[in-house]
């Protein structure tokens, strides 16, 4: 009689332990997601005049206006899941354009570009931010004659 009574409580205890263990196992990945494990990691960022085989060609810090355009290249690895980043172009602290770029898993390279005009001469910067407006990188360059 007593054994039967205890067997019921032991079964309840066992189920509870099992449920708790499963609960902890499920919580672990979600907490790691909150700490940024699912955020894309920027591995390369550069200003360049063109791309060659998916890589920046002649990355630099000073570009002549005569080259017509300038690119901001950024490469992410890993990209845990599909997400977006932003390239914000500033000319002397004035926001000129903000371009939204999509990143696909598992790794992704992307770029934004602007056409250059005579009035674009001067110091520039591009801020690379993620979806949460977290600043990932600031690239500074100048447009000259």
């Amino acid at each position: 009689m007593n054994y039967k009574k205890y067997r019921f409580f032991l079964a309840l205890l066992g189920i509870s332990i099992l449920l708790c263990g499963k609960g902890f196992a499920q919580e672990s990945p979600s907490s790691s997601s909150a700490s940024g494990a699912e955020k894309p990691t920027l591995v390369q960022a550069a200003m360049c005049a063109s791309l060659k085989e998916g890589s920046p060609c002649n990355p630099g810090a000073v570009f002549p206006v005569s080259q017509g355009k300038v690119l901001c290249f950024s490469s992410f690895d890993p990209v845990p899941r599909k997400t977006s980043i932003f390239h914000s172009w500033f000319h002397r602290d004035v926001l000129i354009t903000r371009q939204k770029l999509t990143l696909n898993s598992p790794r992704w390279s992307t770029y934004s570009t602007i056409q250059l005009r005579e009035s674009d001469k001067g110091p520039w910067r591009v801020e690379i931010t993620d979806q949460d407006a977290r600043l990932l990188e600031v690239l500074r360059f100048s447009i000259t004659d």
């Binding site: 002649n58 990355p59 630099g60 000073v62 002397r92 602290d93 910067r125 500074r140 100048s142 004659d145």
Partner: protein, 474 residues
């Protein structure tokens, strides 16, 4: 009556002091130069000045110009011609007598003794030449005097001009009760209308009378007569009584320095006239409100709270409309006018500060009519400190096929302090323009940082730039 009431309501203590000081200066000039030729000419110049003003008020432009020109030339001539007289007035007196002393009575020459001696010598046909100076200085006119300093007496005069006396040929100068100098050489008159019997002694007497206000008495040894020369005129003195009258008249002119009742009355009148004259001049200069002018005056800010910066102002200068007499406004200098706004009650953000009459400083006698704009909007902001990245402001054209691949500044960031609002929009501090024209290989250079807005304070304000140059790949 209304004028007086208005006058006493409008004047400030500075105005009263102004009038009092200038009235006293004018009165002192009168006291010092009274009786001299320079003073008489000065009065003439003053009359010219009044005529000039009168001509101007009547619209006689050419007449006014001519009188103005004459007055100016006369003022210069006075200084040149009467320099000795002016010098003698100023040099002969100490500071006390110049500032507040009154001339003391000069001793009168003993006329009786002089008259006795001269007629005695005329009777004995002994030549003599006696000078009784007036107000004017004789030092530039007469020469070679020998100091004598003897009390005047009949015997003393006769001794000096006694034939065997070595100094009997020259003239003797009588000042007060003393014979000051003897053997004095006088300038001769060059007039050709003089009687032929006038010898050298008479020509000398007239020469000095032509050039000064002195009384010169001459005794002719040939004719045994006494002659008196004064103001370019010479005449024979017939009797001792006539000579006494001449001497007393001359003494009356020269001893007007005495503070007799008449003198006191004259000084009092001069003092009152000085005050009225200065009030008149002062009123002409300061009280007229016939002219209005505009001036753009930069606004100055005072008492700015220590933790705040001026971020912006609606205007840099305000236009003041001021009125006053034309004379005063024509002489006004921009540095005599200021507009100061007290920022002690300012708060972060926009602050409209009215430009009140208290915040406008004007020279005395000038009135403020209007201010445009009536208020200045001052944007204040708290001062904050921040670290900002440094960015190089490259300019010029880099040689082909070179490329500046990498740029690094040392330090990477600088400390910036300035208005919070201005700093909130800044993410970088830029260098001065750095040319790439001469860059052909990697290297370093230094450049100053340019604070923008200029109110920012940077530390440090100079950076080193390290750059890597590569060749562009095709």
């Amino acid at each position: 009556m209304d004028f007086l009431l208005h006058f006493f309501q409008a004047v400030k203590w500075q105005d009263l002091l102004d009038i009092a000081l200038n009235s006293y200066i004018l009165f002192r000039l009168y006291v010092l130069f009274r009786g001299t030729s320079a003073f008489r000419v000065l009065v003439g110049v003053a009359i010219f000045w009044i005529f000039n003003k009168l001509a101007l008020s009547l619209g006689l432009v050419v007449t006014s110009w001519v009188i103005q020109g004459i007055t100016l030339v006369a003022a210069v001539i006075i200084v040149v011609i009467f320099r000795n007289e002016i010098r003698s007035v100023l040099q002969a007196k100490n500071l006390r007598s110049i500032l507040w002393g009154f001339p003391q009575s000069a001793e009168q020459a003993p006329a009786e003794a002089i008259a006795d001696a001269l007629f005695e010598m005329a009777h004995s046909r002994t030549g003599a030449l006696l000078i009784l100076p007036g107000k004017e200085d004789l030092s530039e006119v007469v020469h070679s005097g020998i100091p004598w300093q003897g009390l005047v007496s009949r015997e003393m005069i006769m001794t000096i001009f006694w034939r065997d006396n070595p100094v009997h040929d020259g003239a003797a100068v009588v000042r007060g009760r003393r014979i000051d100098e003897v053997g004095v050489i006088l300038p001769l008159s060059h007039r050709d209308d003089l009687p032929s019997f006038y010898g050298t002694r008479h020509r000398a007497a007239l020469g000095l009378a032509e050039r000064s206000d002195a009384l010169v008495l001459a005794v002719s040894e040939e004719r045994g007569t006494v002659s008196a020369a004064r103001n370019s005129q010479m005449h024979e003195v017939k009797s001792k009584q006539d000579l006494l009258e001449i001497l007393e008249k001359h003494a009356g002119a020269t001893t007007a320095w005495g503070r007799t009742k008449r003198d006191k009355l004259e000084y009092g009148l001069a003092a009152v006239l000085s005050v009225f004259l200065i009030i008149g001049v002062w009123s002409t200069f300061t009280r007229g409100v016939d002219t209005v002018i505009s001036m753009d005056i930069p606004v100055e800010y005072t008492n700015r709270p220590a933790d705040m910066e001026i971020l912006d102002t609606s205007v840099n200068a305000v236009r003041l409309e001021i009125s006053g007499s034309g004379t005063l406004l024509r002489r006004i200098q921009p540095d005599q006018v200021s507009v100061k706004l007290d920022l002690s009650k300012g708060v972060p953000g926009s602050n409209p500060f009215p430009v009140t009459p208290e915040s406008v400083s004007l020279p005395p006698g000038v009135l403020l009519k209007d201010v445009k704009p009536p208020a200045v909007d001052v944007t204040l902001d708290t001062t904050v400190k921040k670290e900002l990245s440094v960015q190089v402001d490259w300019v010029g054209k880099l040689q082909d096929p070179l490329l500046i691949a990498q740029v690094k500044t040392d330090p990477l960031k600088v400390r910036v302090s300035g208005p919070a609002r201005a700093l909130s929009t800044l993410s970088a501090v830029y260098t001065e323009k750095v040319s790439v024209d001469q860059i052909s290989r990697s290297g370093t250079l230094s450049a100053r940082l340019v604070p923008s807005p200029p109110s920012l304070k940077l530390s440090p304000d100079k950076v080193t730039i390290e750059y890597i140059v590569k060749e562009r790949t095709p």
